[in-house]
Amino acid sequence: MIRKVVKDAKEAIVGIENAMTCMFGGFGLSGIPENSIQAIRDNGVKNLTCISNNAGVDDFGLGLLLQTRQIKKMISSYVGENDLFEKLMLSGELEVELVPQGTLAERCRAAGAGIPAFFTPAGYGTEVAEGKEVRWFNGKPHILENAFEADFAFVKAWKGDEAGNLIFKGTARNFNPLMAMAGKITVAEVEELLPAGSLDPNQIHTPGIFVQRIFEGVNYEKRIENRTVRPKA
């Protein structure tokens, strides 16, 4: 079996350098690679381009790397939960590329699937389409979008095995499987790391071929961004 297991997040991020492009799985704070983000903060690497659906909140998730000014550019679909982000963007300290969410997902998937570009109807006629090729298919306009390139992809799964196979839980799956496909080096952190053979091959969401390094994360906070409940009867 190909050796993929590393000790911890610090070992998992070895090779990360200034000005690299990194993907981060997660939707809001759900399914984010908490351990890897903290290790990148502690490493101090700078001028990163980060591809992530959201940018965390002020003091958690990618918000940690905004606090330390390690991010040069964010590529996201929605960044509305983060005051520091807005401040850095308006002051010009942070470059921002806003991408429709489905296009963001597909640009990750395409990157991992050997598709250099694709046409999508999303964004036609809007600011997003500026400078992009337009083609008509079946009587409808579409714009050309390119696959991403990423030096590292950091993803978070519920369970993983030593072969790098991953299983996600609930809506914490989101962008994680797509980014896992896209990274030149994909780092998976999991809540539970099991010996090969422990996971049912029928139930694998991300096959191990997409994962280069895997480790069992520690101290998951799994913060809830917007707690909504019904009262007990």
């Binding site: 921002v96 429709p100 999303a122 409940v229 019904r230």
Partner: protein, 218 residues
């Protein structure tokens, strides 16, 4: 009297048909789920990766791995499914989702919608809105007829950066139900106690009033 947000949600719920898969946006659209008519089966899709979304969890059972696109904790109903974001938007762009309800800052008489950006003021991003409006056949906008300054949100042409071109089918506001037609906003229904004249005064875009405008039943 003009409807409140709940009233708008109740009226939109009447548009649901048995067997629909529906995506509800954040804000008033989320409330629609509370008013689905008896005897109709609907499945709700949330673009972060769930079909079969249920109500908010009972206090103490909330799960950080189970949220909707508004990052609210939710539940999964029997028969629910989870999937990744590319598959989710495959459902949306591939027109497998039958109805999309979303809020808007402006709607134009040709069906253009603006709901993602106020230059210099609000730059939060479009999230999934551009993918949703680019593909769905059946887009209903839920919004107040005028903004806080009392200005019409139903316009000849959007003034804000648009989210999608000629995509809205129907608008339900606190004052009226209007269809987008090649001729403009066609008035179908008025809220109880609201006159056609009230709607006309609150609509900057071209309003078409036929003979069979009726009062909403909610």
């Amino acid at each position: 009297m003009a409807l409140d947000k709940t009233g708008i949600a109740r009226r939109i719920a009447q548009e649901m048909k048995d067997g629909f898969y529906v995506n509800l946006g954040i804000g008033i659209p989320t409330l629609v789920a509370n008013y689905i008519p008896e005897g109709i089966s609907i499945e709700f899709q949330s673009e972060n990766g769930i079909l079969g979304m249920g109500p908010f969890p009972i206090e103490g059972t909330e799960d950080p791995d189970l949220i909707n696109a508004g990052k609210q904790t939710i539940t999964a109903l029997p028969g629910a499914a989870f999937f990744d974001s590319a598959m989710s938007f495959g459902m949306i762009r591939g027109q497998h989702v039958h109805m999309t309800v979303l809020g808007a800052m402006e709607v134009a008489q040709n069906g253009d919608i603006a709901n993602w950006k106020i230059p210099g003021k609000m730059v939060k991003g479009m999230g999934g809105a551009m993918d949703l409006v680019a593909s769905a056949d059946n887009i209903i906008v839920a919004m107040m007829h005028t903004n806080r300054a009392g200005e019409s949100k139903l316009l000849t042409k959007c003034t804000l950066p648009i989210t999608g071109v000629s995509c809205v089918r129907k608008v339900v506001t606190d004052l009226a139900v209007l269809d987008i037609t090649p001729q403009g906003f066609e008035l179908r229904e008025v809220a109880p106690g609201i006159s056609v004249e009230d709607v006309r005064n609150a609509t900057e875009g071209k309003l078409i009033v036929g003979d069979n405008v009726r009062e909403m039943e909610i």
